[in-house]
């Protein structure tokens, strides 16, 4: 983890610890919670896309697996929530292996469609065989650990963003490890890294699993916060939205995933003033920001800062 990232992390942690004191009220906090949940999925997707060069349009599938497995087990068997969440992540990891093995042979649009197909199949399965069918089910227990139930928005906010912070640190260390360098090598040239003795296949599967586990973790947090889930929340459109978060934030940077997730989650709330025109304004803002901040928001900010530093020295 580099020095720049370390400073950013400190700022980030301070910001999230203070946020509930500034942005009081559970509405603002709930927006924050959903941003955090999305950020968690986006970090996984960012590593998958930005570092391993794999596209996925099926992240909502893993997100849904995490939510459903965890929620169903906790409702049906009454096991501790943390155990249910672990089960959700385990099932998602298994599904990731099943998807990753055939997906290894694919690239570009073909990979996109394969992952899209996976997500849609999960969606159909939830619709047909998921508890409650398309109507979904409620009365899912709140998150609890060691007998303490996390119910209020502010405590759940800390929980979610705590998870995001830990995940981000873990991911930074991963990227800067030997495996991480190998990943970037895959992104740049698969053939070359193969020749250098990097086991591309195994590494790709590992990254797929990692991103699936992040998504499943986020899904189970969602289920135990909202306490109601239905298949509609885990559709292809959510996958596309997640992709949008990563691109808007900046695909080559984990901070980008977090910033993108926050922006895309908060934006519709800000646009409520426009009532029905919000979809128009939303589309317009997305189009413009993609066109003008091509590398994504975070790389843009980094560039700006470095420019300023450079000009300051001169």
């Amino acid at each position: 983890m580099g020095r720049g990232n370390f400073t950013t992390l400190l700022v980030f942690i301070t910001a999230i610890s203070l946020f509930p004191f500034i942005g009081s009220g559970s509405y603002v906090l709930t927006v924050g919670i959903f941003s955090g949940i999305n950020a968690l999925v986006a970090i996984g997707l960012c590593i998958l896309m930005g570092y391993a060069g794999q596209v996925s349009l099926g992240q909502a599938g893993f997100y849904g697996i995490g939510a459903y497995v965890s929620a169903v087990i906790s409702v049906k068997f009454g096991l501790p929530v943390i155990v249910c969440m672990a089960a959700g992540m385990a099932v998602a990891a298994g599904a990731a292996v099943v998807l990753a093995i055939p997906a290894l042979r694919l690239k570009g649009h073909y990979l996109a469609v394969a992952t899209l197909g996976f997500g849609e199949i999960i969606h159909v399965i939830l619709n047909e065989w998921g508890l409650g069918g398309p109507s979904g089910f409620g009365d899912i227990p709140n998150f609890s650990l060691f007998g303490i139930t996390v119910e209020s928005a502010s405590s759940f906010f800390y929980l979610v963003w705590g998870v995001v912070a830990v995940t981000a640190v873990f991911s930074f260390n991963l990227i800067n490890s030997r495996n991480g360098r190998a990943l970037r090598a895959i992104h740049d040239s698969e053939t070359a890294s193969n020749a250098m003795g990097v086991d591309v296949s195994v590494l790709k599967i590992k990254v797929f699993i990692l991103s699936a586990v992040y998504a499943a973790f986020a899904g189970s947090l969602y289920a135990h916060y909202v306490t109601f889930i239905s298949p509609a929340s885990f559709s292809l459109f959510h996958s596309v939205l997640l992709l949008m978060m990563v691109i808007v934030g900046g695909i080559t940077n984990i901070w980008g995933a977090i910033v993108g997730a926050v922006v895309i989650t908060v934006l519709p709330e800000l646009l409520k003033k426009f009532e029905e025109f919000d979809i128009l304004v939303y589309g317009l803002i997305l189009t413009l920001s993609l066109m003008f901040f091509r590398k994504g928001l975070v790389p843009l900010i980094i560039d700006k800062l470095q420019q300023r530093k450079g000009s300051g020295r001169a």
Binding site: G25, T30, S135, G136, G138, S230, E275, E276, I285
Partner: protein, 384 residues
């Protein structure tokens, strides 16, 4: 980087505009409304939103509630549970509403149950699913105005029984709306001695349902029951007509809009559906307790929006008027509003039927709220 600055400015203006407050004479009573104005369930949210805007104008023009104007704050849930959770938090905390009406769909309403119970604020849902208000002891603050899905099914099955139909094929759209219909259809079939020969499904954007209909025909059904909203029910009707099925087609209460007859054209002839009296008010006897109210609502709505309110706009009418009446009688007190709705909404004529709320039933409608209606010569006709 001019563009960057412009966009930044846009964001700042947006942020500021959120905090603009509006002023009025006597302090307004705030009521929240969450509807699926956009997204897949916008067929529900659109007339609901229109209805509420129209009623708000009418009520305020007539002097509001005891001199207080009402302010209905409408949030678009985009047919999405996550969004409706956010909307409810915003309404409860930022707007400090006395009650919330909506959401439009069962899933979204279910997602709000724990929130409303914690916030101790009444919710009058515009969705039909039975779990919204049952079990009643866990749904202390939750009411709903649409009739239960099983009331609709009972109306269909009772009619079928009287016509000697014992074997049916059902087809439902794979959304929450179709799913709750499917569950009710399956659950009540034995009670009416009806066997379900085929149980088919389709997506909300599918373009051809001939396969499902063919399967139902091959299974030897005597009638088809279709359960959906939006364009698919018209496509089913067209396919049913083209295939010359030789058996009647029953639709759910979602069929209750003239627009559907218009879209399906002559294919709609003979389609039977159990509908609320709103769409057939002109065919009711003059002394029917709902008639005057239905007539006024339909006429006002059509004058303002150049379209029909349909059954779903009526749900919003009932929800809002119940809350308004409660505030008028007991004042701006959430607990008293809740108690008033539970105990005093009795023999209360609304658009959906005559409501009888109680501590055992937070919906207050049964199958008598519906009429079996057939399409004849491009118009509705009540079946006796």
């Amino acid at each position: 980087m001019k563009v960057f600055k412009i966009l930044l400015a846009v964001f700042i203006v947006l942020g500021l505009s959120m905090s603009v407050a509006n002023s009025a004479g006597k302090e307004p009573y705030k009521i929240g409304a969450i509807f699926s104005v956009t997204g897949p369930a916008s067929f529900l949210g659109e007339p609901e939103k229109n209805t509420v805007i129209m009623l708000q104008e009418q009520i305020n023009k007539a002097g509001g509630i005891n001199g207080h104007p009402i302010e209905v704050i409408i949030e678009d849930s985009k047919s999405d549970e996550t969004q409706s959770v956010l909307a409810s938090k915003k309404l409860l905390e930022s707007d400090k509403v006395l009650a919330i009406i909506g959401p439009s769909t069962t899933g979204e309403s279910m997602a709000l149950v724990p929130i409303m119970n914690t916030a101790k604020t009444p919710l009058v849902s515009c969705a039909a699913g039975a779990p919204i208000t049952q079990p009643v002891n866990e749904r202390h603050w939750i009411f709903k105005t649409p009739q239960y899905d099983f009331s609709v099914v009972e109306a269909i099955y009772a009619y079928m029984k009287s016509k000697g139909i014992a074997k049916v094929g059902i087809m439902t759209v794979s959304t929450g709306f179709g799913d709750s219909g499917k569950k009710a259809l399956q659950e009540l079939a034995p009670k009416y001695g009806i066997t379900i020969a085929a149980d088919e499904r389709y997506g909300p954007k599918d373009s051809d349902m001939s396969t499902q209909l063919t399967k139902i025909k091959a299974a030897g059904a005597q009638a088809v029951i279709n359960w959906s909203i939006g364009p698919t029910q018209v496509v089913v009707t067209k396919n049913w007509h083209a295939l010359k099925m030789g058996m009647p087609l029953f639709q759910s209460h979602g069929w209750g809009s003239k627009k559907n007859i218009e879209l399906a054209g002559k294919a709609a002839e003979g389609v039977i559906a159990p509908l609320g009296r709103l769409v057939v008010w002109d065919k009711l006897a003059d002394k029917h307790p709902q008639k005057a109210l239905l007539k006024k609502y339909s006429a006002d709505y059509e004058a303002k929006y150049k379209s029909e309110p349909g059954t779903f706009g009526g749900h919003a009418y009932d929800s809002l008027m119940m809350v308004v009446e409660a505030i008028k009688k007991v004042g701006p007190d959430k607990a008293k509003i809740r108690n008033y709705i539970e105990t005093k909404i009795n023999k209360w004529p609304g658009t959906g039927g005559i409501f009888n709320m109680s501590s055992k039933d937070h919906c207050g409608l049964d199958k008598d709220a519906l009429e079996m209606v057939v399409v004849k010569n491009g118009d509705w006709e009540i079946l006796k």
